[in-house]
């Protein structure tokens, strides 16, 4: 298969495991890209791919698309279900539509771009890499993020960045309510330019201004005098 540039898979007549095995074999054989048709919101398509390959999803996808992958790039021409790009180590996933709950959970590296809205808990447990949301982000986005960078061009629902340890959240709009232990800080030189360059790269419209948010470190160490803050923190 090594001389095949683009392999096309029609999901209609295949089991999920068969589809993933075909993609895995294509990556092993050095196929450059796979075009995946009739995804019809099916779950777990393109999971556990550990060699470089480019995936093109023609349609909406279900849960855990591009989950547990390394060095995979993907474009999803539709919306994604829960947990898109789960635990990605390196690579890039671009969702043209919206992403449901927990987009890019535990991202270890690479980038997840959602051009529409993100559901609740986008970027939960983010460990490294970038999560970019073109529209609004749902409840508790960036919950417990440990590092990495999250960019939200629109507004955020309640609990933004709750209990985050490190990393940055860039917010274009307003948050309904900040999560516990989050503070707005002044950007350092060049940081904002890097965020804007990212958006430009993906042809996404930047908001008029960005707020940079990060952990205020108040939850790093337990202090019994601050018990009230701990009671509110989830």
């Amino acid at each position: 298969m090594a001389n095949v540039e683009t392999l096309t898979i029609n999901c209609s007549d295949k089991e999920t495991r068969e589809i993933n095995n075909i993609i895995r074999k294509a990556a092993d054989d050095g196929v450059k890209q796979v075009e995946i048709l009739n995804t019809r919101a099916r779950h777990n398509i393109g999971v556990g791919i550990l060699k470089p390959i480019h995936l093109i999803y023609r349609g909406h996808v279900g849960y855990y698309t591009v989950g547990l992958c390394d060095n995979v790039t993907a474009e999803i021409h539709g919306s994604a279900g829960w947990g898109v790009g789960d635990n990605l180590l390196a690579g890039e996933v671009v969702v043209e539509g919206n992403a449901a709950s927990s987009a890019a959970p535990s991202l270890r590296g690479g980038r997840i771009v959602v051009k529409g809205d993100g559901g609740p808990r986008a970027g939960i447990y983010l460990k490294s890499g970038d999560v970019i949301i073109g529209g609004n982000a749902g409840y508790m986005s960036g919950f417990m993020m440990q590092n990495g960078r999250m960019v939200i061009c629109g507004n955020a629902a309640k609990g933004l960045g709750d209990s985050m340890y490190q990393g940055q959240i860039w917010l274009g709009g307003e948050a309904d309510e900040m999560g516990s232990g989050v503070a707005q800080v002044d950007p350092e030189d060049g940081e904002l330019d890097a965020v804007l360059a990212l958006l430009e790269k993906h042809k996404m419209k930047a908001p008029k201004a960005f707020k940079k948010l990060q952990s205020d470190k108040s939850l790093w160490n337990f202090n019994k005098h601050d018990f009230a803050a701990w009671k509110d923190a989830l």
């Binding site: 019809r40 919101a41 099916r42 779950h43 349609g59 909406h60 279900g62 539709g78 919306s79 279900g81 829960w82 539509g97 919206n98 449901a100 709950s101 809205d117 559901g119 609740p120 808990r121 749902g138 409840y139 508790m140 629902a157 309640k158």
Partner: protein
């Protein structure tokens, strides 16, 4: 886990049979709740008809129930589902009297629902069983919504299956995916107010809470919002009345549900895949957020 899903047509005109769409959506979420399946159907009411659903612990009690119903009003149509009786009767009396009369037959017989517009159907197992018994696919009205149940808190039987209603308060059915952790506390407080509980299912608290809030003067929408604050736990629930239906999510958005809406219809499901298999189209979906209430009028 449980799954909720269904279809609502905004007008009488539609291209696919409502029951067939609901069947496919519920079939797609079968694995979320293989214990039992139930649906709420909305009907035009052209007179005095009342849709009655009765749970029977003893499957052979059906004949007694039907006899009783025929004495109370005349039966237009009835199916004995061996554990669940569905009947359409002509009845102009008070719904509460009918409930009392049926439940006087036997302690193992209780009324699951009465409705002037809403009909509740339930069966054990997947939607295929429900359809084999009650011919769901033949339904072609405007609203069919259901639940596939994964029992966690009460027995796997007809009585504890969903949809659940506040019984004599006709035309209110709910389908609830999740758990209510302050259920026992709430139940005892509503029981003290005089509300009857017929199941051990925590979800039964929801229709009773809504009815109670509305009897205290709250609008339907206000009652739904109050329920989000009063109910502790994770939930997505659907409430259907004679003139609207609502999708309600808890403050944590922990239970899934996606919605697709066009000029003609609203379809939703716990799982986007089942939704698309249901409507047979690759529709754009969106996911309601934490603490949100969405209401669609009939």
């Amino acid at each position: 886990m449980c799954g909720v899903g269904g279809i609502f047509y905004k007008t009488e005109v539609h291209s696919q049979k409502t029951g067939e769409i609901a069947y496919r959506i519920l079939d797609g979420i079968y694995r979320r709740g293989p214990d039992s399946t139930g649906v709420t159907l909305w009907h035009n009411n052209d007179g005095n008809q009342l849709y009655v659903g009765v749970n029977c612990d003893n499957p052979s009690d059906g004949a007694r129930v039907l006899e009783c119903l025929d004495e109370l009003g005349s039966i237009r149509q009835a199916t004995d589902g061996k554990g669940y009786i569905r009947a359409v009767i002509d009845y102009s009396g008070a719904e509460a009297d009918l409930v009392t009369a049926i439940e006087a037959l036997d302690p193992g017989i209780n009324v699951a629902s009465v409705g002037r517009h809403l009909e509740v159907l339930k069966h054990m197992g997947g939607v295929a069983n429900l359809d084999a018994q009650f011919d769901l696919k033949a339904y072609d009205g405007r609203l069919a919504m259901g639940l596939t149940r994964y029992a966690t808190e009460s027995g796997i039987d007809f009585t504890n299956g969903q949809p659940l209603t506040a019984r004599a308060n006709s035309d209110m059915a709910i389908m609830h995916n999740g758990h209510i952790t302050n259920y026992h506390h709430l139940r005892s407080s509503y029981a003290r107010k005089g509300y009857d509980f017929t199941t051990q299912n925590d979800s039964e608290i929801i229709p009773i809470m809504l009815i109670d809030e509305m009897s205290n003067g709250a609008s339907f929408e206000d009652a739904l919002r109050i329920s989000i604050e009063k109910l502790d736990g994770c939930f997505t629930y659907i409430a259907v009345t004679n003139d609207c239906f609502a999708l309600v999510k808890d403050n944590y958005a922990a239970k899934p549900a996606v919605v697709a809406e066009t000029d003609d219809l609203v379809a939703f499901s716990s799982d986007p895949q089942s939704l698309r298999e249901g409507v047979l189209a690759d529709m754009d979906v969106w996911e309601p957020g934490a603490g949100e209430v969405h209401i669609w009028q009939m």
